[in-house]
Symmetry: none
Subunit: 153 residues, 2 copies
Amino acid sequence: MFLSTTTNNLDAKGRISVPSDFRAVVGDGGFDGIVVWPSFDGDYLEGGGIALLENYMRSLETMDHYDEGRMALQRAIFAESRKLAFDGGGRVTLPRELADYAGLNGTATFVGLGPRFEIWNSKKYESHIGDVRRLARENRNRLVSLKRAGGQA
Amino acid sequence: MFLSTTTNNLDAKGRISVPSDFRAVVGDGGFDGIVVWPSFDGDYLEGGGIALLENYMRSLETMDHYDEGRMALQRAIFAESRKLAFDGGGRVTLPRELADYAGLNGTATFVGLGPRFEIWNSKKYESHIGDVRRLARENRNRLVSLKRAGGQA
DNA sequence: TTGTATCCCATAAATTCCCATGTTATCCCA
DNA sequence: TGGGATAACATGGGAATTTATGGGATACAA
């Protein structure tokens, strides 16, 4: 599970350290790295381990072959995804088109969201997170009912 | 279940002993430690075992993927949480931003609340607990009716 | 060649691990 | 039911390891 938020440097070669917590999560799937694609919800990147993409593939298989949504998801996620391997220091090299899409320069912010994570321009994320906190507070009552449904600690 | 209230020292390295009762509770989920995040409700921290976050994750997955509130909750909870592993002595290192958020220095107070717990600035908690007692007294009748409706105790 | 992608090495800072110690709680046995 | 032995806990300090990060050197391709 991807947790927490970390801001790391993006160097002149396009390299960035993946937070060590995140590296520990993606140790499965036989690929030592992460998978990243441009979000279709905004100008940031989404990513996860290879296992996440395999899950997506399995759920797509349950959808109708000519379902518009299915095809859109396939194109938006699979076609746009890049496999990024870790170097000896736990970094990946972010292809320029991905960095450009998310407006990344100097630093980038990894945001853990449970099963997947996002990579944001650090400044944009800071201005975005305020709204998120407000919305979360407004929706807190829905989480309380989840707590009741959800078992032990 | 997290019970009782304990005040422990927060040392210069940001380390603090997790009460041994609490450590016994979080032995599940394959992670030997706790998860802590800043409360939505005030300047203190909330925490629990990794299993609590996994429940949140499962429950959020049952909600509509494009629900604004769902996404806000996901961002606010997972992105703000930190996994804190126990050291050999049963302590965790509290990241500076969490300690700052809760105004912790010198000591901190762990408050067991059943499925989760809170971490407070000890002084603040002492002044807070007075209000809590008053509220509990005012709501005593509601607890009695619960007892009649429910099972034991 | 020129830009790009890999790989290797170096280093400062942060984090984790390990050991020591005083204190408190628990156990055991006469 | 007194202790006294034993174990568990909270806590401090230092050593060892891991991280994050920068800078070459090398190989490849446009």
